[in-house]
Symmetry: C2
Subunit: 457 residues, 2 copies
């Protein structure tokens, strides 16, 4: 090598090392600000305690839209605006009854049930029929119409406790809830019971949406707790003719006008390049929606607030988005991507937080090999804060429609061990969220946004 | 190199790779057993709900001794026995009153207080005096007897929220509780208030032991919550003559006979080499002592139970020890080391779990460079389970006396972000412990014991 080549190489290396040190120092400042003067926790307190559960189309969802608009304006973001979107309006109704009835109708016992989101109700007369327990759709198909017709299908496949990533365990069991009612209806079932999608054996109900297929009867469907599912399964071993009665009054009403809420800090040198970070503002109705996904919303706002507090002037445009209707329609996420395409917006990265406000452990990215490598190479900057999982594959439901525009999508990954205790339950409340974990998550997200803003994606 | 040398080298490499694969496979089996059929959570339920808080010398501590003895016998450990040890018997008394009184004695308000462990009480007449707030012992010394005499010293230095390892933040603040009363008494203070050692601003009291020095008056001492500490500090800015009244009835009674509980599985090939794993059975009296240290106790029993369940025959002798009196005396830990020396026992490693039943993130080891390297080299075997912190330095209070016999001591490290919400408080109850986190901790400990048993330390 020529001397000049060596010298310029050394120069490049030293620039790169200097840049790394500069990045590490700035990231430390971000975490310090979040841990010393963070506001994610007080925001979450307001959202959960003063507004509460925020099912799409509900008054609480509307209140949450207005709250997040005002909150981002109060923080002095450059622009805050609403994106109108029509959302489904499913309501649970007031009465939910579940009852196990023995085959001779000599005895019965009540157990708690919760209607699956989007499901039709039984109406006041309820549904009473024999129960047939199955573990998966293959078993259902093998039993066929002969055994299924006129019965209530009981889907009882547990989440696999051996999987370290509980989202994998969830994926392995969730089709029972998402497609179970439609699959069972194909064989003439008149109702469905689903084992709650939980990592734990307890007395907690987990709701969540079901999606009815076209040209298949819509049959009512409820979840029962994992302990009751085991109990019911045991009873069925002794009494093959065991029946179940349930009464629900859920119904799907007309679509309602709602909004995504967008807050922006304009980029100073590349304002046309957008980095979006978001969570979904809607939640289920059973709780305050703290982990799912109040946490992701306040962390997204907090990420931008941290930059304001530190006096950071981003190169690119940073945008926090509160998506509407992730839980039972994804209309907000679709609308956002549609408008981005319509307006010829250039998104260089999209980051979502929708795995709860737990301890940060990493990020997953869906994008080109180069984009994946770029993010994974940043991992050492996060090691001092306990984040070691930097991997290919990741994103979030709300930002997934942006993939058709080749936007790299990144999922924020907190530890997943506790998530499926709270997910879609009556106990997903403010008290279930730890302040430091929530703050560390917001700081981790802001740190990644900082790196993307500094170095592109 | 000669051909034979190359061949034997290749042989050694392939043996080593095979051994790694074998280890990885066995460790996976350990985790599977813990996650699918683990018993740590049900043990913890019994210990917390049926026995409860277990302060040294209390009936509950005696019940916990008997419970853990029976539990380890029920699991079929080869030997289970008690090590008698005299322990301090401190009692809180029934009444604890705290009251802020303004300087003109025109108004007062009650705030909750909790006596520091080992502290003397005020008796029924209570202690009333002006408050003087200090941040550290240097400030105390600068104020000197002129300003301190006859007053109540209020130690109000918070734990630093910026530190990722909250135990470092705890260490940075805990001398206020441990030595504050004695330091203040040197300058003639008649009472002490300590800001609760918490990572959070809330209304939770944190007790914990104080240690009176020799030849210094023992003055009564209480903790107040972090929110009240901030409140009191604010009031003091406006009313320099503000007074505090508190009444406590705590006292140190005569020492009581208690026990360490030891359960053993005999080694098959090297029974004289002992690997010890433990936690401490005593806890503070304010709660059920779930994280501190019910978790460590049940994880230690579970680690050995996992080996029984898997039909594993250890080479070395594995020993689970429930130490008594970590909280306010460490008599159990000292006794254990004393007996080990007396009996010429050869401990090759000691592992302690006393940082709560949270998500496992690693292990820290105190020992020779070679011992440190050996453990740190095992780290990749734990990466699939999310453990990345393998570092020099670590152990636990109860096993620390073994260091004088050059036993390498290892501390199990769970994530620390939530610990100082529960530590020494009334809310350190069963409900604060997550089943999967507890089980993963037990599995991680068993996995490390397996590696030490297989490969020595």
């Amino acid at each position: 090598m020529k001397k000049t080549t060596i010298l310029s190489l050394l120069f490049l290396i030293s620039v790169s090392l200097f840049s790394q040190e500069k990045d590490a120092a700035y990231i430390r400042k971000i975490y310090d600000e979040a841990l010393e003067r963070g506001e994610s926790y007080s925001m979450l307190h307001y959202l959960t305690k003063n507004i509460g559960g925020r099912l799409s189309g509900s008054p609480q969802a509307a209140a949450a839209v207005e709250w997040s608009r005002q909150q981002m304006m109060a923080y002095g973001f450059d622009t805050v605006y609403l994106q109108p979107v029509m959302v489904p309006h499913w309501v649970r109704g007031n009465v939910e009854v579940g009852r196990i009835v023995n085959s001779k109708k000599l005895g019965s016992m009540e157990i708690p049930v919760t209607a699956l989101g989007n499901s039709v109700g039984t109406g006041p007369e309820g549904t009473l029929a024999e129960i047939i327990e199955v573990n998966d759709f293959q078993e259902l198909a093998e039993l066929g119409e002969a055994k299924i017709k006129g019965k209530i299908v009981f889907f009882n496949r547990p989440m696999d406790p051996k999987l370290m990533d509980t989202f994998s365990a969830y994926s392995g069991a969730s089709n029972q809830r998402g497609s179970g009612p439609t699959e069972a209806a194909k064989y003439g079932a008149i109702g469905v019971i689903v084992r709650s999608l939980s990592s734990f054996k307890d007395q907690v109900l987990h709701t969540g949406s079901t999606n009815y297929g076209l040209n298949v009867p819509k049959i009512p469907a409820v979840a029962i707790t994992t302990k009751d599912a085991d109990f019911l399964s045991d009873l069925l071993k002794d009494d093959k003719g065991l029946q179940f009665y349930f009464e629900t009054h859920s119904e799907m009403l007309e679509d309602v006008l709602s909004y995504n809420v967008v807050g922006e800090i304009k980029g100073s040198t590349n304002p046309e390049e957008i980095i979006v970070v978001g969570g979904h503002l809607d939640s289920w109705d059973l709780s305050e929606g703290a982990h799912d996904d109040g946490a992701g919303c306040v962390q997204s706002i907090e990420a931008l607030r941290l930059f304001k507090a530190l006096g950071y002037r981003p190169k690119r445009t940073l945008r926090a988005v509160m998506f509407m209707n992730e839980e039972n329609g994804l209309r907000g996420g679709r609308k956002y991507a549609e408008l981005a395409a319509q307006n010829n917006e250039k998104h260089i990265a999209a980051l979502e937080s929708d795995r709860g406000g737990f301890l940060p452990i990493g990020f997953g990215i869906t994008g080109t090999k180069a984009q994946q490598k770029k993010m994974i190479d940043w991992a050492p900057l996060f090691h001092p804060f306990g984040l070691y999982q930097f991997k290919a594959g990741g994103g979030g439901a709300d930002i997934s429609p942006l993939r058709t525009q080749d936007v790299p999508t990144i999922g924020y990954i907190p530890d997943s061990q506790r998530y499926f205790k709270y997910h879609h339950t009556p106990i997903d409340n403010f008290e279930a969220v730890n302040q430091r974990e929530l703050e560390l998550g917001a700081a981790s997200m802001a740190a990644l946004i900082y790196l993307i803003d500094q170095h592109g994606m």
